[in-house]
Amino acid sequence: MNFNQDLFLTFFEKMYLIRRFEQKVYEFAERGLVFGSTHLEVGEEATAVGTLLNINKEDYLIATHRGHGQELLKGTDVKNMMAEMIGKDAGVCGGRVGSMHVADASVNNLGAQGIIGASFPISVGVGLALNLLGDKEKILISFFGDGASNQGNFYESLNMAELWKVPVFFVCVNNQYGMGTAYCSTCNIEIHKKASLFNIKSDYEDGNDVEKVYHKSKELIDYVRTKRLPALLELKTYRTIGHSAFDKHPYRTKEEIEDWKKKDPIKRIEATLTSNGVPLDTIDDIKKKVEAQIQDAADFAIKSEYPAYTDALEQ
């Protein structure tokens, strides 16, 4: 295959952006600035980047509770994302809800649910709406985790997605764990096979190989977009950190974690870049650019005020 340098540099930049964003959020969490819990996707960056680079601004997004990367890639401003993380006024949701629930109407991000499984029926509804509108272009990309696929709503919604023929691209970020529970201890069926039962086009891919994710999802997104039918892609990956910021993840072995760190999608893409002759300087420049972006966003977030209470919130 031809090496498309621009594309690979974009892969790198976006994944690096997510990584640095997450690390900054972690740093904020350590400083006690993040209220509640935050779920970081360190190690999983290729899933958001590989899929969402194929998605248009007009398309809709439903992200997960571990969705910063998804939300950033959909186009939300890094500054407003960062401010939301620490509950500031300038946050994309006014700082009311924080890390778990980012919605951004300006980029058709419909919001993430903290209730595992709740996003499935809503996704079907969004797809239905696109059908009712007679839309022939827009689709919904709806992310979910391996753990979520055990909720009854998952299956019910797959049936409805097929029955109503909704243009929804379901993406399973299968990081193999739901909190401390290994997927294989909860279900004996691979997730993409669950979709096959309902005659939904489904496939799987190495979720740590951004190039493969990109091409496979491009294919499926084209299918959803043109055929106006649902599809599902399962991406096997791993979070190399804890479930939430302070989870020390004792439920996994050191070896397993180290093993997956070796498959780190960012390291991988960096290696691809250099082996294809991209100068280290180019890579460093990107890093610096991202770094500056993150630092700006962090400064912006810190400077922003906490939201003030108004009676208008009462309902």
Binding site: Y60, G91, V92, C93, G94, G95, R96, V97, H101, A103, D104, A105, L110, G111, Q113, G114, I115, A118, F120, P121, I122, S123, V124, G125, V126, G127, L128, A129, L130, L132, L133, G152, N153, E156, S157, N159, M160, L163, L313, E314, Q315
Partner: protein
Amino acid sequence: MREITYSEALREAIYQSMKSDDKVIMIGEEIGQGYAGVFGVSKGLYDEFGPKRIIDTPIAENTIMGAAIGTSLLGFKPIVEIMFSDFISVCFDGVLNQAAKVRFMTGGQYNLNLVVRLPGGEGSGTGPQHSQSLESLFMTIPGLLIANPSNAYDAKGLLATAIDAGDPVLFFEHKKLYKTKADVPQEPYKIEFGKAKTVREGSDITIVALSYMVSVALAAAAELKDKYGIDAEVIDPRTLVPLDIDKIATSVKKTSRLAVLEETYMRGGIGSEIGSIICQKYMDALDCPINKIASKNVPIPMPPSLCNEVIPDEDRVVQEIRGMF
């Protein structure tokens, strides 16, 4: 003016809204091709508007609620029918954690037009899982509006308002009301939420009653007047959220006595809410303790011999209110 039934009034509100606004759709079980609504509300609408706007679903309440939320996020104004209000429990998460919180959680970026029609109440012995009055359970959830029409006129006007209220509306209908008739104008009209109606003027006691219980209150009021010379004022809040506490208070100031009559369970009921507010803000106006008249804390039974003891009826209301004098 024409007399039409509560069912017909609801249908007319839906029909007229659908005619004038193509974003209005209906979603539910057996609303289109099968039964056209178990209580016949959507009769004829499928023929008129077709499967794209009268959307039948499998038996899958989570799908219904999800379809409603999803379409609403994209600008539709779905009217959901939950066949019996008791089944809302199946998709309760959609109500509590999603629909009710969209406006707040998105910082106002999104808000939902979404009506959930909930046929409730004891009808003819459908028993504990098909006869509940669950208003009180939802009243405590911020972000939801609650309408409880007691007659065909209000049914039409409140539903028209609910359809583009801008926040989710739980629209409680009552099985015993569907066939009741009232004068209902043909032309579309809206009834503002949060405006109670004085359905009977009186000077001795204020009875606040909701939904089907309004008719029970009126019957009791007639008897109280005829037999005991007690002149009751009957107030129908029409919407539980927002609640027109001012109108209730004004009446109580006049009558100095308050009874709240409801079919919901006594504990944590509407009487507790209204009673406590009146006691909190207008205690001086009261000549005697408020009286909560509600269903006993028992699952709604099937046979009338039990239902009649559990759910307030005219006799109980008369007796309770006489006890306040």
